[in-house]
Symmetry: C2
Subunit: 309 residues, 2 copies
């Protein structure tokens, strides 16, 4: 799957991923009204609105981008119907040949991590039958429990040719509270980065490992260091746009050939129609606003990468 | 909710929680056959088997125990139908007046943690209506992202009088890989423990804070230290039984009045009928085997607590 991601990035010249993290207040009124008219003001109604919103954004951007990253929390907050919309979104993105990164940040002791890996990137057996419960291509994983919590995800990746992005340095303001603590003179995130490099060493695709890392766009200096610590790990970079990261800050997350990282934007793309720059499209045409925002993001990041070539 | 948990522990004299972590190979053949006859060898069939299995265990143990802890991964691996069985289990346990600890180990950046908190211990608004998506009483939270990843869970706890158990030192063999690293001469888990004590300080119930901690039974010396670092935090102690912890090892997780900790056993209770000690009950009567295992666990832990009084 890492090879497919790399090929799609090379084809689109877009090392970006659209974060499908729908909040109700991003969803235009006409979509909400239609969904509520059909299902009522229920969890099912909210799920239908989310699904229709996602579909329109995917339809307007899928030819420009290699991948999407649905954040499962935004679906899980609407209970079972929300998770049905998550699954429908994953399936639809696969139909559109997009790589799907499930942002699930799971992680537990061995047998429990194995169950999460089965559910999200593996197959489950019931009697004599086999099913694919959620079927993402990559998932994000929390490393706090150590190797035996991560290994079951790696095992399923090897079997299924799927991939991981392991949290190394997250984009939020207080990520440093534990992640930056010095251990033998080195910040904890560097130790985690070294582990990611080790875990990934025997999971190689053509150029990069199946086992990647999450490093926030909001910490470009740390990204530069981590790029060197994990030379074969693809880096998923959240925090662009709404959280503060800019294209020029991100060049050191990439290798000199412009590969090695993929930058996520969620709100900046999916709620683009609410930004001054894109209000001209109008709420009705929010999908076109998202497309314009994707084009601007590609230009920003590709421009920054070309400038340092 | 922490007050309810304490009251129920005082009433049952059982500082224990039954981990409802069903694996298909724990579920007796007669339950599986019946479920598959009705729903086929499908995800729905697996979910029905899990639900019937849980129901029988809850029916046979609910008068002896204060709380249950369903591990959501074991349900999530069966996709949407699995999560429906999770929700059904949570609701049924509430009918039986049990405190439900959702073992979800979620944790993300602020806005995303807020969505998880809404989904699991909060209410969500759709148009003019309010719904309770999963409705657990407590959830487990991963602290790796720091304060702004934990705060939204705390905010919902305050609103809803719910509670948290934050991962401090987990029970698995490689938990030390990051958690034991020395930061200024102190292991990281102690730093996390200090944060848990701080976060909990303004969330007090009568005697303990709403904000508790997870500390593995497999590390009793660390439990002793953490008990002192977090004097007002209830400690959820996984790893008893199958993972190796014993009653006598656990006394220092408790305060001198026998409160302050609650010990989880999953496999040791729910798959008791497979253990030599309980085979006399037979597979058909697996619920009675679980009841006997609960009685033995209470005697072990209560005995150990009485011995140090």
């Amino acid at each position: 799957m890492i090879n497919k991601l790399v090929e799609k990035i090379q084809k689109t010249h877009a090392p970006i991923v659209v974060g499908l993290d729908p909040m109700m207040n991003y969803i235009p009124d006409h979509i909400q009204k239609k969904a509520f008219a059909e299902y009522g003001e229920t969890l099912e109604g909210a799920a239908e609105a989310i699904w229709q919103f996602n579909k329109e954004i995917v339809d307007h951007t899928c030819d420009l981008i290699p991948a999407v990253k649905p954040q499962i929390a935004m679906y899980e907050q609407f209970g079972i119907p929300g998770l049905q919309a998550f699954k429908k979104t994953v399936d639809y993105c696969h139909q559109k040949d997009l790589v799907v990164i499930g942002d699930i940040k799971r992680g537990d002791i061995g047998s429990t991590s194995a169950a999460y890996a089965t559910g999200h990137i593996g197959d489950v057996t019931v009697g004599g039958q086999t099913y694919t419960p959620f079927g993402e291509d990559f998932v994000t994983v929390n490393p706090y429990l150590g190797s035996d919590g991560v290994q079951p995800f790696i095992d399923v990746c090897k079997e299924q040719k799927k991939g991981l992005f392991i949290l190394v340095k997250t984009s939020n303001p207080s990520s440093g509270e534990f992640q930056d603590k010095l251990v033998d003179g080195k910040p904890l995130y560097e130790l985690v980065g070294e582990k990611v490099a080790q875990w990934g060493a025997d999971c190689m695709g053509n150029q990069y490992s199946y086992i990647g890392a999450v490093v926030g766009a909001t910490y470009p200096e740390m990204g530069k260091v981590l790029r060197k610590i994990m030379p074969k790990s693809f880096i998923l970079v959240p925090g662009y746009g709404a959280q503060g990261g800019k294209g020029a800050d991100l060049v050191h997350f990439f290798d000199t050939d412009g590969l090695g990282a993929i930058v996520n934007s969620s709100r900046g793309i999916i709620a683009a129609y609410k930004q001054e720059e894109y209000t001209k499209f109008g709420e009705e045409h929010f999908g076109e606003a998202s497309r314009a925002a994707v084009e601007a993001m590609i230009a920003d990041i590709d421009g920054a990468l070309q400038a340092v070539k």
